[in-house]
């Protein structure tokens, strides 16, 4: 419970991408407030009804200089109810893909080096499988994650994208940072609505497969999490070295 509260406060810290508040004088502010009051009385009730009825995530209406945008937090699984309490994996189940949004995409490799039998890391449901991946940069081209040596696979878990959008890692989540399951390591911006990318397990941030600002698809592999192993894990030199960097590590 305490964790949840902590994270609930934290989720507000990065400014949303389109946060728009400059400093303005008192007259402008008062005018704005009047306009807001008027729009709220006339427009909002019908907009809210509409939003509720359509199941849409967002409605925007423009009137003169004014623009009203109603948005409901689309949670990781795309369903419109609040996401605060339900979309994070429970800490009681580290590594468990009980994360509603991308069950198949969280690749948890068996620890006991059994991965030699597996053809490649991309063979499950990773985006490498799609014939024509869209958006991702070269680092996630098909088969690329599979390039890493079999030795790495045993400790490999990957945080995947909860939605289609633009990936923004949290600044402090650089390679080598220790994370616990459920920690937020970045967001995927879906039309201005941030969707959290969380660490699926306890571990250390490893290679990133996607650069900040890159478009990603649902389930795409974003950031590798090295499981806390017997030996300290060397962070790759460059985040974008991707699988290659990891191979050399």
């Amino acid at each position: 419970m305490a964790d949840r509260q902590r994270r609930a406060t934290r989720r507000d810290d990065p400014a949303p991408p389109d946060d728009l508040e400059g400093s303005r004088d008192a007259v402008a502010r008062r005018d704005d407030h009047d306009a807001i009051a008027r729009l709220a009385d006339e427009l909002l009730p019908s907009l809210i009804a509409k939003l509720g009825a359509t199941g849409l995530g967002e409605i925007e209406v423009r009137e003169g200089d004014w623009k009203v945008r109603l948005r409901r937090p689309v949670d990781a699984d795309g369903s419109p109810h609040g996401r605060r309490s339900t979309d994070r994996p429970s800490r009681a189940q580290p590594g468990h893909a009980g994360h509603g949004h991308a069950p198949a995409a969280v690749e948890s490799r068996p620890r006991s080096g059994g991965s030699a039998a597996g053809p490649s890391a991309g063979s499950g449901a990773g985006p490498g499988r799609g014939l024509t991946p869209v958006g991702p940069g070269p680092a996630t081209g098909s088969g690329e994650p599979g390039a890493s040596g079999p030795g790495d696979e045993s400790n490999r878990v990957v945080a995947t994208s909860p939605a289609v959008g633009v990936f923004q890692p949290r600044r402090e989540m650089t390679a080598g940072t220790r994370v616990r399951a459920g920690d937020r390591i970045g967001i995927v911006d879906v039309l201005g609505v941030p969707q959290e990318v969380v660490a699926p397990v306890d571990g250390v941030i490893g290679a990133s497969y996607v650069q900040a600002g890159e478009a990603v698809e649902y389930g795409q592999e974003l950031v590798r999490i090295e499981l806390a192993g017997p030996r300290p894990i060397e962070p790759p030199a460059e985040a974008m070295a991707g699988a290659k960097g990891a191979e050399e590590a």
Binding site: G55, I59, S79, V164, Y218
Partner: protein
């Protein structure tokens, strides 16, 4: 023309739209759910993007996922196909708000035609006959009896809210009406929390005939003729053909001309289909409009030679129609068979599985629109449509003969399909005579229908072999099911797609 189009659908229609994009030289991105990763449209697409998990509410029905996918792939238009969000005016509006084009009617047009009741009133005002009904909601029994008397029995009692046959009863006399009203009120109350009822004339032995229209942004519209969709099971179309055998050529022309005049006057835009119930005397009643490309559009394409998806995209891009009614010259007869993964011998139960072998039929004027391939696994999450076989002939008899040959060639192994019911229909006397109504299959029950057809086939020739997979005679439905159509048969309005 658009720079790039996002195809926000799956299965055969995603493939169909992809083909139209190819023809136009516009790159297309197929948006897919995790369950469709291995699907044919994804494999054939210029680009593909995973938008969410198998659950359609989180993928094909998720407006944010689809629009975000369009934005990040650099698309400037979204084609919704049919079903899913294809007629959702809210979606169309948000697509527009993001600077993208919704390939279909603009949101304000969708909104105008969103309510069935409102659309009926609107188009009735522009000269289309609608099913006679009570003047507003029924106040009490006396009012109901008066109204029923005025409309003429039999009448259908319908709840104002909801659908799906709940609270609906067909009654043939004042006494039945009095008894049924109480039941309907309580059913409607418990199902929809609203017990207001109204009456509609019951169209006995109706046929379902629709008119394809297309209107550009500048108010130029033409009709592309009619289609008969009377072969249904549980209000789902399974065979569509054109032209309808139910009406004479002048009557068909009259219907189509009135339909196009009404929608142009009412400000419709893009492709659309007006659905009508036709009674045995040839009277037609408008029931609803479908504001999208339809499953059965290839029937019209075969007759007119017009690529309707290309046309739809062009109109959405703001291009003028470019031709007039005189340029539309439908020729011959076409029949479409919906090939579904469902067991006709067992109540049309949907089937899933892996396609072991697939062979599309060929020959002159035979078209197969399908996303099947050997090894394809049919996901359990979506509808059961596997593809459509469309056959053309210079006349109905030739089209039927070609259809028989094509259905015999069509091979879909690994999953039970409804191909047997199509074969059964092609030996059914009523179908062959063109005298069928919407209850042709449901009246008997599908299993009995198959059995009866097999018997006919045995009696009439060695055609039995082609219906070999028909139900064993032991599964004949109880004879009691030959009752007249269920009350909801008037609800052809609820036939989706």
């Amino acid at each position: 023309m658009f720079q790039k189009i996002l195809i926000a659908n799956r299965g055969e229609i995603a493939l169909r739209v992809l083909r139209a994009c190819r023809l136009l030289g516009v790159p297309a991105v197929v948006a897919y759910s995790e369950a469709d990763r291995e699907s044919l449209p994804v494999q054939l697409a210029d680009e593909a993007i995973c938008i969410g998990p198998a659950d359609a509410r989180r993928s094909y029905l998720s407006a944010p996922a689809l629009i975000s996918a369009a934005v990040v792939t650099g698309c400037d238009a979204i084609h919704p196909g049919y079903g899913f969000l294809s007629e959702d005016e809210g979606f169309a509006e948000v697509v527009k708000a993001h600077g993208l084009t919704f390939i279909g009617p603009p949101s304000q047009v969708l909104e105008r035609f969103a309510s069935k009741e409102g659309t009926r009133r609107l188009l009735a005002g522009h000269g289309l006959p609608t099913i006679p009904g009570s003047d507003g909601m029924l106040r009490d029994e006396v009012h109901a009896l008066d109204e029923a008397e005025r409309i003429g029995y039999p009448v259908l009692i319908k709840p104002s809210a909801g659908g799906g046959g709940k609270g609906m009863r067909m009654v043939r006399s004042p006494r039945e009406l009095e008894a049924a009203m109480k039941v309907c009120r309580s059913e409607a109350k418990s199902a929809f929390g609203d017990d207001s009822l109204y009456l509609e004339k019951w169209i006995e032995n109706n046929r379902h005939v629709e008119v394809q229209v297309v209107v550009d942004r500048y108010g130029h519209g033409v009709h592309l003729g009619d289609r008969d969709c009377s072969v249904q099971r549980r209000h789902q179309k399974i065979i569509e053909e054109a032209p309808t055998p139910a009406l004479s050529p002048p009557a068909r022309d009259d219907l189509a001309v009135r339909a196009i005049k009404a929608v142009v006057a009412a400000g419709y835009e893009n492709l659309g289909t007006l659905e009508f119930l036709v009674d045995p005397d040839g009277n037609f009643y408008f029931i609803e409009i479908n504001c999208r490309i339809q499953v059965e559009h290839p029937v019209t394409e075969m007759l007119t030679g017009i690529d309707m998806v290309v046309l739809q995209i062009r109109i959405a891009a703001g291009e003028p129609l470019g031709f007039s009614q005189a340029d539309v010259a439908p020729r011959g007869h076409a029949i479409e068979f919906r090939i579904n993964a469902e067991d006709a011998a067992h109540d049309f139960r949907p089937q899933t599985g892996v396609i072991e072998h697939y062979l599309a039929p060929g020959g002159p004027c035979v078209r197969m629109d399908s996303h099947l391939y050997a090894g394809y696994e049919i996901p359990p999450y979506y509808d059961s449509l596997l593809g459509k076989l469309i056959v053309w002939g210079p006349d109905r008899t030739t089209a039927i003969a070609r259809s028989r040959a094509a259905l015999d060639e069509l091979l879909v192994d690994g999953v039970v399909t409804n191909i047997p019911i199509h074969r059964a229909l092609l030996v059914n006397e009523q179908f062959l005579a063109g005298r069928f109504t919407t209850n042709l299959i449901d009246r008997l029950g599908s299993a009995a229908f198959l059995t009866a057809a097999t018997a006919t086939a045995v009696a009439s020739a060695g055609v039995a072999a082609s219906a070999g997979s028909a139900a064993p005679s032991g599964t004949a439905a109880p004879s009691g099911t030959t009752s007249p159509a269920s009350p909801s048969a008037n609800a052809t309005a609820e036939v989706r797609r």
